[in-house]
């Protein structure tokens, strides 16, 4: 079947239409307040991804190593030799030096965050009390849909095959450094502690405000 658009244009159109549709739907159902509640976290996630990109890649790789360690060496009596033989110290899921892999990870995390935020706002947001609020939500939703697609489009890379290596070189050449390096690599990056505090704080504030009762006259 011949496509009326170039594949790359079609890919972009799909993103723009999906972002517009989702954002407008949230605006229609939850009004301008729902839009605000959705877009502040989305912009925050975007900013965080920009600032903490390296920490995210490091965290994913640490989690990947941890999972592989658990699966491969969890039941082994001699975990040290198991680590050495399985090449865990060198294993990475996302190669930090490969911009395509990093971009794919950012895209996956960002899109997941957007979907999650939209679902949460649709589930827990309040219905708009007037038609005016609903209309304001739609207008804001359209504007935010364009903003969202503007954020996502640069992350797309049509036509490039991005391969995620499941494992990498064996550790035979680096036997001496494998065992000592694993515990260090399993520690959380310093910056992520701040991110954890941030997430806990934001969740607390949203929950607290949500549970707040109106002042009785």
């Amino acid at each position: 079947m011949d496509l009326p658009f170039e594949p790359a244009v079609l890919q972009y159109l799909i993103v723009i239409v999906a972002a517009l549709a989702a954002s407008t739907a949230v605006g229609l159902k939850r009004g301008w307040r729902g839009q605000l509640m959705a877009f502040v976290p989305i912009l925050a996630v975007w900013g965080l991804l920009g600032v903490e990109k390296d920490a995210l890649v490091g965290g994913v790789n640490v989690a990947y190593k941890g999972l592989r360690f658990f699966l491969a060496c969890g039941t082994q009596a001699d975990a040290g030799s198991c680590v050495q033989s399985s090449g865990l110290a060198e294993a990475v899921l996302v190669d930090p030096t490969n911009p395509d892999q990093v971009r794919l990870l950012l895209l996956a995390v960002f899109v997941s965050a957007v979907v999650l935020v939209f679902l949460l706002v649709m589930r827990f947001g309040r219905r708009p009390t007037s038609v005016f609020q609903r209309l304001a939500g739609v207008v804001l939703g359209v504007a935010n849909g364009f903003t969202l697609s503007y954020l996502v489009l640069p992350l797309l890379s049509y036509g490039q095959e991005i391969s995620l290596p499941v494992a990498s070189a064996t550790a035979e050449g680096e036997l001496s450094v494998v065992a000592p390096s694993l515990p260090a690599s399993l520690s959380l990056p310093g910056a992520s502690l701040g991110a954890i505090i941030l997430v806990v704080f934001v969740v607390f504030v949203i929950l607290a405000v949500r549970l707040m009762k109106p002042i009785e006259a």
Partner: protein, 183 residues
Amino acid sequence: MGPLEVIWALLVGVFAIVGVVRGYPKELGVTTTILAALLLLTKGGQSALYLLDAYLARYAQYSVVFDGQYGALIQSLFYILVFVAVVVISYHGDTLAFTGVAPRGPVGIVLNLMSGLINGYLISGTMWHYLHVFNYPIQILGLFQPPLTEFAQNYLVPLIPVPLLEPYLLFLVPFMIVMRVVR
């Protein structure tokens, strides 16, 4: 003066009690002000110190704030006093308090307690930060004798809020304002 972590824990405890008594809608308003103050101090504190130094240098003929014998103490006290002044103002009256009351029962008490703990952590942690970065200049006044205990070095200094939250303050302050407006 005992170990700093004892004073830190006492302050956090006091603010937790204050949180339970005042209720978290008011405490969230204080949190907003604290975060705004942190943003102001981290982004503009150094510039304000340069202005202060330029003003004082006209009389002293040298850089009192940055090169003087008590430079570290002056810088540290500047940050701490400005921050404490903002905190006092934010606790005085309703200022940015959220409109509403805490739910009754244990949920409300827990939320009040948590908001008080958060404020205590932010306030005492910020003061600690501005002592830490200037190498505890209050030791000149005989108020503290270094070194820090091992517990404080290993577990509390890494939890000081300013360096942890600094990259996110530009998001947190508008977030709190939006939450207040939405409320």
